[in-house]
Amino acid sequence: MARNYRNETIRKKQRFEEKTNWEALNDPIKDRASHKLRALFAVGIVFLISIFYLNHIYKIQITNHELYTMKAEDNRIRIRPIEPIRGNILDRNGNILAESYDTFNIIAKKENILSKDEFIANASKVFKFNKNQQDQLNIQFKNKTLKEITLKTDTTIEEFTKLSVDQYLLPEMELIINSNRRYIFPEATSHLLGYTGKLSQTDFDSVVDVKDGMTHVGKIGIERFYQNLLSGSPGYEKLETNANNEIIRVLEKKPALRGQDIYLTIDSKLQNYSYELLKGKEGSIIVMNPHNGDILSFISHPGYNNNLFAEGISSKDYKRLLNDKSKPLFNRVLSGQYPPGSTIKPFFGIIALEEGVIDKSKVFACTGAYKLKNYKRPFKCWKKDGHMDVNLSSAVASSCDVFFYRLAETSGIDLMHDKLKKFGFGEKTFIDLYGEKKGLLPSREWKNQSKQTPWYPGETLNVGIGQGYFSATTLQLANATSLLATGGESVTPHLFLKSIGNNIEQTYNYNENKNTVDIDTDSLHIVNESMWRVIYDTDVGTASHLEKIEGIEFAGKTGTAQVYNLDKGKTGTKSLQDHALFISFAPFESPEIIIAVIIDNGGSGSAVAAPIARDIINFYFKNIKTKLAKQ
């Protein structure tokens, strides 16, 4: 068929060519030459374009080789930081106070999730989520600060392996190890240790040494102050990933360096015992070794459960803590500023003796009130009937206010301000925690600057009994008391004992900070004895009702700081009660510990604060076997 058709067509063509004089019109030689020219022209263009192309490719492959090599590496290589294990916090005897432990969580990175709805649907299949849990996932999606969706917390590797059977449904899911923080005595150590939390923007501008891969940092307390020691150094894994972000292999690995373990000066037994003593009260306690500044107990009551913060506190729990009237988040030791009340009397007494304002036998008559020129209302003594004739020793022991009014009037505010400074009032103790307040040791200059009014004589009297503008922190009282106990060895109160990490033990030599405060020995002796009388002189001692401790004599001073009612109305509610204070050192002859107790609105120092200090001394000498080397 085709052959016939072809032959016929060829015949037709021949007839056509004959008819149209085809041969003349179409000169094959000419056509051939013309075509060759065009073909060669085309070949020339082929070469030109090829050279242009090769030049372009040369630029990419040779000239910019390094740039593209870098980009190719960026494509395939991911650096995954390895978070180091945070060091533990231990007490002086090696009991763990805060520890790190690992939990396994199943998460999915948001960047890997393509479809939210599909993800939730598949996750619900794999984990058998109910409606409520699905809503939770939705909330996690909406929270823009979260980079990943947590599917299951606190799981095990075994469980993950079981769930991995369904990984094809949920390719995004992965098991991650989270290092968590656990506080063994959450409430009792909350204000001391603080807590860790997720790294936030504010941490970058702080003292914290933020390293790559760090997710949690100490936010407050010891966790914050020693963050850089505790945190260790993160390691990393250099991973090769494909375009779907799947890990092909580990190219390089540098393990993380565990953080240092920090031993505190705290004695956990004493800490817990002291904390329990404040049950139902609001207040603070410091127990310290006066010779080296080791703080044995650091109590601010009520505490809070710092584990809640370490796990990531819910807003509900946080609100509850914020709105709690007992202010559990308030660190009373560091930030509570109280009028020292009568606890100032021993220090003022020493100054008066040293400066020759009085001598030890000088007697004033106390009639229950003191009249100051130009003041209508007399300055009252706490004892309405008065203490009759008192010298300094019995004035301290009986806490006679009138005696100290006169002493203040005679000394004047300038002398009091200048000399009380040496006991550390009005200045930070520089304890190793952030947030310390420095109280206020008032002066003429201060009043001029802050109130733009002159100093009134009556205000001097108030300062004389630790009232008025005078305020001090528990730490300052403890610090001042330790000067009495040691006769002028000035130490820095501190919590850091040593750190151990990678088999290297580091201590801090606090002796370098040690100063000597000049205290006249005779004056000190008189005042210390008067503080002994507070406990043991049954006639005048304001705390002589305390049950004595067998074999241990101790000295102390009560204080009851009046709380001024700001709205000048007596409502009689508890919040307007006086602050109860007590400072103490024991044993009397060669002191090993000093104690400062302040109970907010607790009432009288002798009735409320003194028994607590007494119990601590008793517990310390009966139950704490630790021998503190007296240097």
Partner: protein
């Protein structure tokens, strides 16, 4: 009229194929298979599938090489009209993912546009074969209609890339037929004038592709992403490449479409500029051999046809490489003889077959 079969020996005599052309193409095919094996991560199934397609292509090539060019000339109008009908059918009954390019005959499923890549050069060559050359303006106009009709039908699918390629192959055919210089300028003027008109007929995604070509940073994960990854692959290959099976870009799937449209980048990553140079040389050699056949052909039809087909194959090479190195917009064109896929493999081997038919059936020149 005698056929000079006696000048062929061996394989050429048996299959009427051009050994030189065939050997060069086989070299390219081997490079393609090697690269394919690497980017598929050593997938033998893929290689076997590709081998089957190559075999089908070769059978088509050998079959077409047996047919006398006169038959192509005579049947060209029929084939052309057949192709146009299929294109029209595609508009109504076409299937496909994003564009309706396929005709589904249950047993057979193919792209009529692919056929037109051969039929349009055939039709132009056939049209000019009995006209005086260089063609008159009237004949130029007719040729334009021959080209534009299928181009518009294909652009409507929408497959702008193929439409442009077919138009280009038609223009090559007109050029080889001996267009006058003045007519060339007229043509260029018309094309420039048509650009705004063409733009207004384009779909948004087509526009965005072209726009992204001019500013790739604007869509990093769209077509710009493809180009960026392609350049990274090539650039990180350097002079000698990363070594066989060591191309991170293609092995780790950063290079998209790495066994179809972007196989050139995958090859360039592993074999470097040296490899690219050699590959380009092979394609140039294919073209030179084809052009040599065209020059030696004994009638206008054969000359125009073989020249057009070989230049069109080279054009496809240029379009693909130009696209993956950032010279041209990403239109989705495979690399002849290398890309994974059946249709394009069949088309280019068929074109080779027709060229070989010209070679093996050339008449001895009358002195």
């Amino acid at each position: 009229m005698r056929y000079s079969d006696n000048q062929f020996t061996g394989l050429s005599a048996l299959f009427k194929i051009d050994v030189k052309l065939f050997v060069i193409v086989i070299l390219i095919v081997i490079i393609g298979l090697t690269t394919l094996f690497s980017v598929s991560g050593g997938d033998y199934n893929l290689i076997i599938k590709q081998l089957i397609r190559i075999a089908i292509g070769m059978i088509a090539m050998i079959f077409l090489a047996q047919i006398h060019p006169d038959n192509f000339r005579l049947f060209s109008p029929l084939l052309y009209i057949f192709g146009i009908i299929l294109l029209i059918l595609t508009i109504f009954f076409g299937v496909g993912k994003s564009a309706d390019r396929w005709l589904d005959f249950y047993i057979l499923r193919f792209q009529p546009s692919e056929l037109m890549k051969l039929f349009v050069p055939l039709m132009i060559a056939s049209f000019y074969s009995d006209k005086a050359l260089p063609p008159s303006l009237k004949n130029l106009f007719v040729a334009s209609i021959i080209i534009i009709t299928p181009a518009i039908l294909i652009a409507k699918q929408p497959d702008l890339g193929t439409a442009l390629l077919i138009t280009s192959s038609g223009i090559i055919a007109i050029f080889l037929s001996g267009i006058k210089l003045s007519h060339i300028f007229l043509g260029i003027g018309l094309v420039i004038g048509a650009i705004p008109l063409l733009w207004s007929f384009m779909y948004d995604y087509q526009k965005s592709r072209i726009l992204s070509f001019f500013s790739p940073s604007q869509d990093a994960l769209g077509t710009g992403y493809h180009l960026a990854q392609s350049k990274i692959s090539l650039g990180s290959g350097g002079l000698f490449g990363k070594g066989y099976m060591n191309g991170t870009q293609s092995q780790l799937d950063f290079l998209p479409e790495n066994h179809t449209d972007f196989i050139f980048s995958a090859f360039g990553e592993e074999f470097g500029f040296v490899g690219v140079f050699i590959l380009m040389t092979l394609y140039i050699l294919v073209t030179l051999r084809g052009m040599s056949i065209s020059i030696k052909a004994t009638d206008n039809f054969s000359r125009i046809l073989s020249g057009t087909l070989i230049l069109t194959i080279f054009l496809y090479v240029l379009v693909n490489i130009g696209m993956v190195v950032g010279i041209l917009p990403i239109v989705g064109a495979p690399l002849p003889f290398m890309s994974y896929g059946g249709t394009s493999m069949l088309t280019v081997f068929a074109a080779l077959g027709i060229i070989m038919s010209v070679k093996s059936h050339q008449r001895l020149l009358r002195k």
